[in-house]
């Protein structure tokens, strides 16, 4: 635990601190970018881009070795991976536009074929440079153990660029995500904006290769955005929350990976963000599961209470177990089902309110307040005491209720 705290406080060595900051920046960029593809309902396109980086990495490695350079130069590998991922994105777009295949099939086909081809190239590299085990496998699941200073700087700069582009483009991307037709009428080039979004995805994917690996980078684009969606209905906050969730998972994940043995960075970052997602799904105030269940139960109680009181007032027998339980719990009826004093009063009130509503709906047909009747809304919250007194006057003593 102490090692973990040290890592969190950047106290466990220069390299670990470097990785931590890099992972946090990556998480923020990925969370922010991911929000827009999530809103555009194209989250899995990024999976195709991520898997499609593999052939690019291999080709870049081969090219660099062929020209006598160091095949493991991170910048070169990043350029190569961005190239093949871009080709993949163009192909996905082309297949889903020009043929009758749906987008998900295009994504799956491009993803698997590029990845398969990448594996072929990787086996070629293994036979080609038997002496120089390229270690390209580390890009599958990421590895931060031997990260160099200039690699971390590359990641930090790319992360900052992605953040800046995000800031620049977020208004248009929002518009395109919610209403592409309207965006087009205001003069925004929808296709160019979509391409720019995908370009951002590409940047995040490529910088994520080293830290999280190409199989799991898509999680950093999707999970923070989905988790953030539970907390807000506003886009700006959504982007900010997703960036925070991404950043926190990246940072703590890197710390955990530095502090404990055999904890792969990418996997633990993804699991932490999934944990934050699970918390959001369960406990977010409005959209969370607990809040929904609470709302449902409260609504159910209200309905049963209301119907039960009306039945008491009308002298009808009640058979429903839940209604009886709720009435008994509220002290409106005794254990043998006979109404108590407070029960009779509440029942009379319920019946009178029902009658008042009936009048209100007749007299207020033209305005909204009359339409507020749903059998549950208390009449006092809609009409003033004067108006209610007026309803009572109209009712007169048509029905025998205790006022």
């Amino acid at each position: 635990m102490e090692g973990f705290l040290n890592a969190l406080l950047l106290q466990s060595g220069y390299n670990a601190a470097l990785v931590g900051i890099g992972a946090a920046l990556l998480g923020m960029a990925a969370g922010g970018t991911g929000t827009f593809i999530f809103l555009r309902k194209r989250s899995l396109v990024s999976d195709a881009a991520a898997h499609a980086t593999l052939p690019g990495i291999c080709l870049a490695f081969m090219a660099m070795v062929a020209f006598g350079g160091d095949g493991r130069n991170l910048t070169g590998l990043m350029v190569g991976s961005a190239g093949s991922a871009a080709v993949a994105l163009v192909l996905v777009d082309w297949i889903s536009r020009e043929t009758r295949l749906p987008e998900d099939a295009a994504i799956g086909a491009v993803l698997s074929v590029f990845f398969g081809f990448g594996i072929v190239l990787m086996t070629v590299i293994q036979t080609m440079t038997s002496g120089r085990q390229a270690g390209l496998e580390s890009f599958l699941l990421g590895s931060t153990a031997g990260m160099l200073f200039n690699e971390a700087v590359t990641i930090a700069i790319a992360g900052a660029v992605a953040g800046f582009l995000l800031l620049l483009l977020h208004r248009r991307m929002t518009l395109v995500a919610f209403d592409p037709e309207f965006a087009a009428t205001t003069g925004i080039d929808v296709r160019a904006t979509d391409l720019a979004t995908m370009g951002l995805v590409l940047v995040v994917t490529v910088i994520g290769l080293k830290v999280v690996g190409l199989v799991l980078i898509v999680a950093m684009l999707i999970i923070p955005a989905v988790a953030a969606r539970f907390w807000t209905e506003r886009v700006d906050r959504l982007v900010a929350i997703a960036a925070v969730i991404g950043g926190v998972s990246g940072y703590t994940g890197a710390a955990a990976s530095a502090a404990y043995p055999n904890v792969p960075t990418g996997a633990v970052i993804v699991l932490i963000s999934f944990g934050l997602f699970a918390v959001s799904l369960s406990f977010a105030p409005v959209r969370g599961v607990v809040a929904s269940v609470y709302r449902h139960v409260r609504f159910q109680r209200q309905v049963h209470l209301r119907q039960g009181l009306l039945a008491v007032a009308r002298g009808e027998p009640i058979f429903d177990g839940l209604t009886l339980k709720i009435l008994r719990f509220a002290g409106h009826i005794r254990a043998d089902g006979v109404a108590t004093l407070s029960g009779r009063a509440a029942a009379a009130k319920a019946l009178r309110d029902e009658a008042r509503w009936e009048v209100a709906r007749e007299t207020h047909q033209e305005d909204v307040s009359g339409a507020r009747y749903d059998g549950l809304t208390a009449i006092e919250t809609v009409f003033t005491p004067d108006e209610i007194a007026e309803f009572d006057r109209r009712i007169g003593d048509r029905i025998g209720v205790v006022a």
Binding site: D104, S112, V113, M122, L140, A267
Partner: protein, 308 residues
Amino acid sequence: MGPDFVQLSLTPMLIGTLAALACALPGNFLLLRRQALIGDAISHVVLPGIVVAFLITGTVAAWPMMLGASLAAIVAVLLIEAIKRLGRIDAGAAMGVVFTAMFAGGVLLLEQSDTSSVHLDVEHALYGNLESLIWLGAEGWSSLLDWTALSQMPPQVARLAAVLVVVAGFIFVFWNALKISTFDEGFALSLGIRARLLGFGLVVVTAIAAVAAFDAVGSIIVIAMFICPPAAARLMTDDLGRQVAWSAAFAIVSAVLGYIFAGYGPLWFGAAGSVSAAGMIATVSGLILAATCLFGPKRKRIGAAREV
């Protein structure tokens, strides 16, 4: 095509073909139901399934692994459905959340547990090791008729053949129901077809095919075979029966050609060694798809502007 071929190449080729067929057949329906990526998701979540099965039983025996993988697949499908409903999240994103998280869990468990004594690692899970499934007991073509030699075949052959029978049987028995519920679920329901149950059955069959194929050839072929042959077939014909037939043909061609290219291709270029068969099979299926995208007779959407 001598005894060497039977010993070293016949069984991997056969296993690759059976796996490709078992995945391509249900893939047709997944494609038409816009569920093509279910195969992708399932093949990722298989990893935590087999790791947990290994941790519980301590062996890499086939049946516990397949059971674990199937359970993981079912858990994943239920989780995706739950997140979709509870959080009102779109299907793609819900899928992305679940399969990446479960895969990450599998990777973490794998790193944490001591698997040095057994052959279980992430790379193997991703692209399998088709080339190693050789038939040492064979002495030539005559071994195909020799019961003792046959019993020494890699167990994956029999297992995949059984799975293929199950998959094909499911599709054959429920052909009409599947066809109707795929194209018009409302109409299917009005005919008394239990479309939801059938849809779940299809996912279960998919999971069985994915798990069995995964055990033999790794997840990358599984994903490619679920999608590429059916997608290519979709561009060849408007008839579902013919589409399934085309997809089966494409799957077989991909598996056989892919294996041949991987094993002998480098020799043609004068290089030694061979490349990954799994990767090559996926690549060939992609090339077939590319060809149909460019030249397939039914590649356009109905109503799309014709080329002038």
